[in-house]
């Protein structure tokens, strides 16, 4: 008889209950706990009462200021260089562009410390280009604040490139063609049509890029060192403080966690929302 079978099926659908297999539920619970527990621990162990005093010491404020300045500077550099790179990757049709795209995005998966070593080889005082910068312009990048910006840009610019390139690739070329028939030059088209249409992705890419730069550690410490007031950013300060002042380290970590949450909230608005198309 079919009838009872159908009835139970309907009943189960109506209550919407679906039992999760134990073999999935148990490891999933462990996974959730593993990801959330450290954050909870950080919140519990935080020296809430002394938080303000811990964060307002001069060397913490210096590190915080340095972090914000360097991350913002590297985001600006990433925008200035990365958007044109994304445009070339998305729009220029020549053989080998796929390889170039892969190479440009290597820093996304490269261990940052390797990035730092590579930067030393290129821009260090005896580096491929660095020796000429030093000899001709007296310009030294390693172990300077500019070096921090260089290291952060190297690691974070690919985030911006990937976001913007995806938006350019999926943007409607027909609108740019329409603009051309209306007498607009390539630059006008870029400025008045292309750029406004990819704004959501541009914003999301910038936020990601900035957050990555703010959290940068490996490439920075390798290429720029860890000099308080000069190259010691917030993340380096956390690492330092953990040795002799754990409470300060926790307080700083809370600040960075707060930034991460803010970034996530910002991206929820922008990230992956498709750009407007005709």
């Amino acid at each position: 008889m079919d009838r009872p079978v159908i009835t139970t099926f309907v009943a189960r659908r109506r209550t919407g209950r679906q039992r999760t297999p134990v073999t999935i539920a148990v490891p999933a619970l462990l996974g959730f706990a593993f990801l959330l527990l450290p954050l909870v621990a950080l919140l519990i162990r935080a020296p809430w009462s002394q938080l303000l005093s811990l964060l307002s010491t001069s060397d913490v404020l210096t590190a915080l200021r340095l972090s914000l300045v360097c991350a913002t500077a590297s985001t600006v550099v990433s925008l200035l260089l990365g958007v044109p790179v994304a445009w070339i990757l998305a729009r220029v049709k020549v053989p080998g562009m796929g390889v170039l795209r892969a190479l440009v995005t290597i820093p996304l998966v490269l261990p940052p410390v390797v990035g730092g070593v590579a930067l030393l080889m290129a821009l260090g005082r005896n580096g491929l280009v660095g020796r000429y910068l030093d000899r001709w312009f007296g310009l030294t990048l390693p172990f300077t604040t500019t070096g921090v910006v260089v290291a952060e840009t190297f690691v974070s610019m690919p985030f911006l490139i990937v976001a913007v390139e995806g938006a350019l690739r999926s943007s409607d070329l027909g609108l740019e063609e329409a603009a051309a028939t209306l007498g607009a030059s390539r630059l006008t088209i870029f400025r008045r049509i292309t750029l406004p249409l990819i704004t959501p992705s541009l914003a999301a890419g910038s936020v990601l890029c900035w957050a990555r730069a703010l959290g940068e550690f490996g490439a920075t410490i390798t290429f720029a060192g860890n000099f308080p007031g000069k190259t010691q950013t917030l993340t380096l300060k956390v690492y330092d403080a953990l040795q002799d002042d754990p409470d300060a380290a926790i307080a700083l970590s809370l600040v960075l966690l707060l930034v991460a949450v803010a970034v996530l909230a910002g991206l929820r608005e922008n990230w992956l929302r498709p750009g407007p198309t005709s």
């Binding site: 027909g174 063609e177 603009a179 051309a180 028939t181 209306l182 007498g183 607009a184 249409l197 005709s278």
Partner: protein, 366 residues
């Protein structure tokens, strides 16, 4: 004849596809380009607008060479002053209707204030001024079509290209917009090229038609002439005619390629000097053919032949009958006649057509 206007002799190649055209459009003239999908209509418009270069030949507009691969001349799209109304309009979604229309004047060097003033003038003409601050997403199909035309005209183009301007509209809107478009095209001073695959649009909106098939111009002429004497099966189907190709024989009848023969009254084409039997096309309106249950006895029509019904289709006020025979034909009869004849698939019938209803003319395509 004025030298103003468009002169095109162009070849283009796209993978397997080869487009080869030669025609001109005078200023104030509307040339319709009619053809099936894949005939090369859009390819042609892209070449004329400067979005794609041609491979050979020459495009000349108002005595200015726009594209000539031989001499290396190429004027890019943004410098051509060619207005393009795209099939799906391509209005800029992030700009208001006013800024869409002002985009052209602004891009060609006018101040923002001046460009807006020009835009408002055009919006007023197109009855869009009240919607000027809206984004295109909040326009109806007809309004978007008007905005797209206003945007193209606001650049004061020397040549206007319309790619199936009414295709994206629903039937009701199409009717009113078609009349409006006709008025605007009349007022426009430059040359216009209108691409369509809608025969009605072609008849109503254009001064002259060019039929494009497989990248070749197969017929050119006034719309009425093309509707009356189509050169290809594609056009014949569009305008609803039975079309046969065949050979004119000395006794006045036409030997059809697909079998059978038809007699046309007073065929009016000059015999070739050689006197050889010439290739002709024969057109017969579906309503000019009569159906009979058996061979008509006192047949006054000169053309009588048997066939059997292979299909029936109800049109609004008549029944279209597909009859297979030599030749096969589409026949339009009234619903009453269809009932009287007791038509059904496979039914044997006799067809008849008066010689005066059979039009034969030279086949220029071959």
């Amino acid at each position: 004849m004025s030298e103003l206007g468009l002169r095109v002799r162009a070849g283009m190649r796209r993978q397997q596809f080869h487009l080869e055209v030669d025609f001109r459009v005078n200023s104030r003239e509307v040339l319709g380009v009619l053809g099936p999908n894949g005939a090369g209509k859009t390819t042609l418009l892209r070449a004329l607008s400067g979005l794609d270069p041609i491979a050979s030949g020459e495009i000349v507009l108002d005595r200015q060479v726009l594209d000539s691969p031989e001499s290396g001349a190429f004027v890019p799209a943004e410098q051509r002053q060619v207005g393009f109304v795209f099939q799906n309009y391509r209005l800029f979604p992030h700009l208001s209707v006013r800024d869409n229309v002002a985009f052209g004047p602004r891009s060609t060097g006018q101040s923002a204030a001046m460009a807006r003033q020009v835009a408002d003038g055009w919006l007023n003409r197109f009855g869009l001024l009240a919607l000027a601050d809206r984004k295109p997403a909040r326009l109806s199909g007809g309004q978007a079509q008007r905005a797209a035309l206003a945007r193209a005209l606001a650049t004061d183009p020397r040549l206007l290209l319309l790619d199936e301007p009414l295709a994206a509209l629903d039937a009701e809107t199409r009717l009113s917009i078609r009349a409006e478009l006709r008025r605007h095209l009349r007022e426009y001073q430059g040359a216009t090229l209108l691409v369509t695959h809608d025969p009605l649009e072609a008849m109503v909106l254009t001064d002259r038609l060019l039929v494009l098939e497989n990248g070749r111009v197969v017929q050119q002429g006034p719309p009425a002439e093309i509707a009356r004497r189509p050169a290809t099966q594609y056009v014949a189907r569009l305008v609803g005619l039975n079309l046969y190709s065949g050979k004119q024989t000395s006794d006045g009848s036409v030997e059809l390629d697909g079998g059978g023969s038809l007699v046309a009254a007073g065929f009016d084409h000059p015999h070739t000097a050689a006197g050889a039997s010439s290739r002709v096309l024969v057109a017969v309106r579906p309503s000019a053919i009569a159906l009979h249950p058996r061979r008509p006895e006192h047949a006054s029509p000169r053309n009588v032949w048997p066939g059997h019904v292979t299909g029936l289709e109800m049109l609004t006020d008549r029944v279209r009958v597909q009859v297979s025979g030599a030749p096969s034909a589409l026949v339009d009869i009234t619903a009453a006649a269809a009932a009287e004849l007791d038509l059904s698939d496979g039914r044997q019938v006799w067809l008849s057509a008066k010689a005066t209803e059979v039009d034969s003319y030279p086949d220029v395509a071959t």
